[in-house]
């Protein structure tokens, strides 16, 4: 039913594939095709299809390029599937060609293995809790996945509690599973989050920016009021300060950070520090 029929392909084939190297940090849109470095020399003026057939295909490409979010492999090329800026990270050592990905702005979270997220417990069924993480399915959390939990010593988790944990299973075919312990069996900051405080949602891009190693916003916020803060990669932030008013001020600042330039932010912090 949903088949696409080629129409006058020779006149409409505007998909000029560009070299990925030359498009770094620029805006790319779905439908564009990118050439990996080892294909650029081969794709001469004659275009694709002129390469001699090699018997040992394994020896052709020494570089193994990892295709990150927003890119799909399409034959030999990379097809862009989301709009955003193209980024590249060099591997530093080893023979792999690095990672290419598209930095896109999104509000809806898709579970990824290893991500630390904040979830809300929605149901308790038998031995597992169902936790809403904002994705397309609720994640399951076993009651044994807490530090010091045994069959006799169950953790004190109720419906409606906030949980900070990480994904151990997260792919498109299976229900995501999360745990509140790391690989050594220690909590490491994960578990049930305290009862006070405020949980609010921001976009995923803002979370990634706030979690970058030297983020000015977090340092400035820390100098303003003493606070506790938890960042979930699913776009949720939990914040708690001494009074409700301070908590609300912090929540509003973090939500507004997305739409403010650095100067406007500094002005607001200066005004708050005075009062």
């Amino acid at each position: 039913m949903a088949e696409a029929v080629p129409f006058g392909a020779e006149s409409l084939a505007g998909g000029r594939a560009r070299a990925a190297r030359r498009v770094l940090d620029q805006v790319v849109l779905p439908g564009e095709e990118l050439l990996l470095p080892e294909q650029e020399d081969v794709e001469g003026p004659g275009g694709a299809g002129e390469r001699p057939l090699r018997l040992n295909a394994g020896a052709r490409s020494r570089l193994r390029v990892v295709c990150g979010p927003g890119l799909r492999r399409c034959g030999d090329r990379l097809l862009v599937t989301k709009c955003g800026r193209l980024r590249h990270k060099d591997p530093g050592s080893g023979s792999s060609g690095g990672v290419y990905w598209v930095d896109s702005q999104q509000k809806r979270y898709v579970p990824v293995k290893g991500d630390h997220v904040i979830g809300i417990v929605t149901a308790k069924s038998g031995d597992i809790f169902k936790v809403d993480v904002g994705g397309s399915e609720p994640a399951s959390l076993s009651y044994l996945a807490f530090e010091g939990a045994t069959k006799r010593n169950r953790p004190n988790v109720q419906v409606g509690d906030l949980i900070y944990g990480q994904f151990v299973v997260a792919n498109k075919d299976m229900e995501p599973e999360m745990v509140c312990i790391d690989s050594c069996g220690r909590a490491n900051g994960m578990g049930v989050i305290g009862h006070d405080g405020l949980l609010f949602k921001v976009t995923l891009g803002l979370i990634r920016k706030l979690l970058a190693p030297d983020c000015e916003i977090i340092q400035e916020v820390g100098r303003l009021y003493p606070l506790e803060i938890v960042f979930g990669m699913n776009g949720r932030i939990w914040v708690k300060a001494k009074t409700i008013q301070q908590t609300l001020i912090l929540a509003n600042i973090l939500e507004a950070c997305e739409h403010m330039t650095a100067d406007q932010r500094k002005q607001i912090f200066a005004r708050l520090a005075e009062s």
Binding site: A4, F7, G14, K82, G84, Q105, K107
Partner: protein, 245 residues
């Protein structure tokens, strides 16, 4: 209106455009903060708003879940004030259901649904003012909204309508031209590969003319693509500047 000339001798249409000329298009992405993706488009006097939620859990019956791909659910609604005479039923009537099915067919061809099995993507389109080319405006608005939501797509989907008057193919019909009763065709195209996602016509047209009308619609869709491309790039640049890249 008796004697209304859809195409004058000098080649001008009722609103002063040339045969292959599009109406003025203005579009904005990210108009709603609560929805995952949203967009607003104005194509001449036709105004359409699209909102996208997803991919999220299947609502309603679990049996509708597809094990290998996402379910795309489209709803079309036209406001009661969108036409000259006030419409009684904004949604649920036959035309709205049919439009919803056509939009669903269009977007199932473009969205990479295999990446989100057993989930649902909702696309809601509302027409605020209908002046011809409502299907095309809905598709263009929905494409921008899906891009704003970050749902992976194979390519843009750009749509345009086309008609045929006195041997000339007209692109992007307005309401006056549609009401005149000539053949009209709606085309949704994936521009980079030139593939057709949906082609719809329910009038009688001689097959000798089909090629010309199809080419006019395809060229207009590609022009729309150029404009939407510009809108998306602008939006991404503004968003990344604020995030401090």
């Amino acid at each position: 209106m008796a004697g209304l000339e859809l195409l004058s001798d000098q080649g001008y249409r009722v609103d002063g455009r040339r045969a292959g000329e599009l109406r003025k298009i203005q579009a904005r992405m990210g108009v709603f903060a609560q929805a995952d993706g949203s967009a607003y488009i104005e194509q001449g006097n036709t105004k359409a708003l699209a909102v996208v939620y997803g991919p999220h859990e299947i609502r309603g019956s679990r049996s509708r879940a597809l094990p290998d791909r996402a379910l795309v659910n489209c709803q079309y609604s036209s406001a009661t004030f969108s036409t000259g005479e006030r419409k009684r039923r904004p949604h649920g009537d036959r035309k709205s259901c049919e439009m919803g099915l056509q939009l669903r067919q269009t977007f199932e061809a473009a969205i990479l649904t295999q990446l989100h099995p057993r989930s649902q993507i909702d696309i809601y389109v509302q027409v605020l003012q209908a002046d011809g080319g409502t299907y095309a405006a809905c598709v263009n608005a929905a494409t921008l909204a899906v891009l704003d939501a970050g749902i992976p797509m194979r390519d843009f989907v750009c749509a345009c309508s086309a008609g045929f008057v006195e041997g000339t193919a007209l692109a992007d019909l307005s309401h006056v031209e549609e009401a005149a009763g000539g053949p009209q065709l709606a085309l949704a195209l994936l521009p980079a590969s030139g593939q057709i996602a949906l082609l719809e016509m329910d009038a009688r047209l001689h097959e000798d003319h089909l090629e010309r009308v199809l080419e006019a619609a395809a060229q207009a869709a590609r022009d729309v693509h150029t404009l939407l491309d510009h809108v998306v790039r602008q939006h991404v640049r503004e968003a990344s500047i604020l995030l401090g890249d």
